[in-house]
Amino acid sequence: MAGLLRAFVVVSVLLASLQARAQDTVRIGWLSSLTGPLSSAAIAENQGVLYAVDEINKAGGILGHKVELLTRDTAGDPVKALNLAQQLVFADKVQFVIGPVNSGEALAVVPALAKAGIPDIVIGSLDQLTDPAKYPLAFRTINTNTQWIATANTYALDVLKRRKVAVIGDTSGYGTSSAKTATALLEKAGITPVYSVLIDPNKTDLTDEMNKARAAGADVVMPWSAATGMLARLLNTRGDMGWDVPVVGHPALMALPIKALLNKPSYWDNVFAAGYASTTYVDGKLPERTVALMDAIKPMMGGKIDFTFWWVALGYDSMKVVAYAATKANSLDPDKIKDVLEHTTDYPGVYGTYTWTPTNHNGFPDSGLVMNIGGTFKEGSYQAAPR
């Protein structure tokens, strides 16, 4: 009996000391699809998050407490993401969550975090992931999907002066929703697409769809998919057909993995995609803040940047926004954090300059989006498309 009592006392003391140590840190959950089919962006964003944590801790942490990052690999699976989010909130007692990376996962996680009352930095682009009434503690750092689509539509209609649009989405939740939004925005501008189709992102050949788009008289093809395999097949089919129609659409059109999949390098010509002012060369130069982060982070990446750098900048900014909000609120109280973020104007990040209001939790400005030219990848950034 005495032994049991002694063991109980020892365990209680240990638990108390563990709790005390836990309170010495600010615990931030990071839901990232580091493995699985959606890992490319997450791996790059993770570099930015890790660097920001290191930088924050070297500067003394948040409110005098070190940041403790609890990274959880969702593998791109919404069910896993939701389970891990609940584990972070209820078992690990995190004070913030960043992510998940993909919109499909975030659709499951954001409502759960709202219910638990945990501030969440949203880095999925689907529009419905923020809603100040339904998810009062969810603030987005990435642009919305509508911003991407509107930027690309404006370029196709106003700069390239095209009117006969073929809208191609993939059959994923993201592709379907994006194609629908793209069509709605085009119709708002008085343009009815001459051809619309949803394609399985793993379909091995797009000859049929591209022939139909050409037969329908399309003078611009606008794909909305993040599947690099499908986008490469689309460009290969266009090239093999000898059809020099411009392709304007999702940022993944410019992603480096596409390069190796193209039958000929010239198949990347006449391709334009929504990109960012922060990672676009103007007169051969990138913005100062981007260059500074690149220089600082490059050694961690083996001295070269061989993936899209805005992912890194987004991860970096998302963590810095957490530190900014907590420091300015001088508290980790969710309501005070919310109040600070809702009254933030022009917070200068690397990826963008953010403004959140009580009625708009999408912080990324329209002015941060530009159009880039496909095939101009250099150190994670791109050339601006001609205006």
């Binding site: 699985g36 089919p37 793993n202 091995t204 395999g229 999949l261």
Partner: protein
């Protein structure tokens, strides 16, 4: 119209070859192995790796893909089928083959990456050849070859008859002195080789992609 037909035939041929692989394994084991698509994936990835990374000539890489497929077929039989069939009549092989398939896929994802990577041209040919492109005809050719080869095997060889005997009544086959374990192992090895060949032939259409198996 013609491009759509040829493209459809090529995609159909990949599925048809997968069905033959299923059948070859099922005939001797009564197991619907979930690893079938993964053998094809391994064939494509191994071929691309040997040509692009190791710089091996195409014929050597083809043999390499066949070897990788064969090894994985044998591994499936040894790890996920034989031990399960020896212990239970229930459909536990569904779990064991799924587990092996998942391990194979995730291992390839970690090693090879999660983005699709290119597969080389097998023969020199211009990309603008349309329906004559090798990417369509290679999988169709392999499918025809597999159908004819298996038909010959089943009808004209002793091994084919052993497959039939094991398939129709394994107990009776054993009673007649047939080593059904060995027959099953050979059928899994052959399935693996066919999967490796199919993945290699279809690589230009599918790319070398870790998630190919679940298409």
């Amino acid at each position: 119209m013609l491009p759509a037909i040829v493209s459809g035939l090529a995609t159909g041929a990949i599925y048809a070859t997968a069905a033959l692989i299923y059948n070859l394994m099922y005939a001797t084991s009564r197991v619907l192995s979930v690893t079938t698509g993964h053998i094809t994936m391994l064939g494509a990835v191994a071929g691309a790796w040997m040509i692009f990374v190791l710089g091996l000539p195409v014929p050597v890489a083809l043999l390499g893909s066949l070897a990788v497929g064969t090894l994985f077929g044998v591994l499936t039989e040894l790890v996920a089928v034989r031990r399960v069939l020896a212990r239970s009549d229930e459909h536990l092989w569904l779990l064991s083959t799924l587990a092996l398939a998942t391990m194979a896929q995730q291992s390839v994802a970690l090693w090879w990456g999660t983005e699709p990577r290119p597969f080389p041209r097998i023969f020199p040919q211009d990309f603008a050849d349309g329906v004559a492109d090798q990417k369509f005809w290679l999988p169709i050719g392999v499918m025809v070859l597999a159908v004819c080869g298996l038909e010959l095997l089943y009808r004209r060889t002793m091994w084919g008859r052993l497959f039939h005997a094991t398939s129709e009544d394994a107990f009776a086959a054993r009673a007649r002195g047939i080593s059904t374990d060995r027959v099953r192992m050979v059928s899994y090895a052959m399935s693996g080789a066919l999967g490796g060949l199919s993945g290699f032939a279809a690589g230009q259409l599918t790319f070398a992609y870790f998630a190919l198996a679940f298409r």
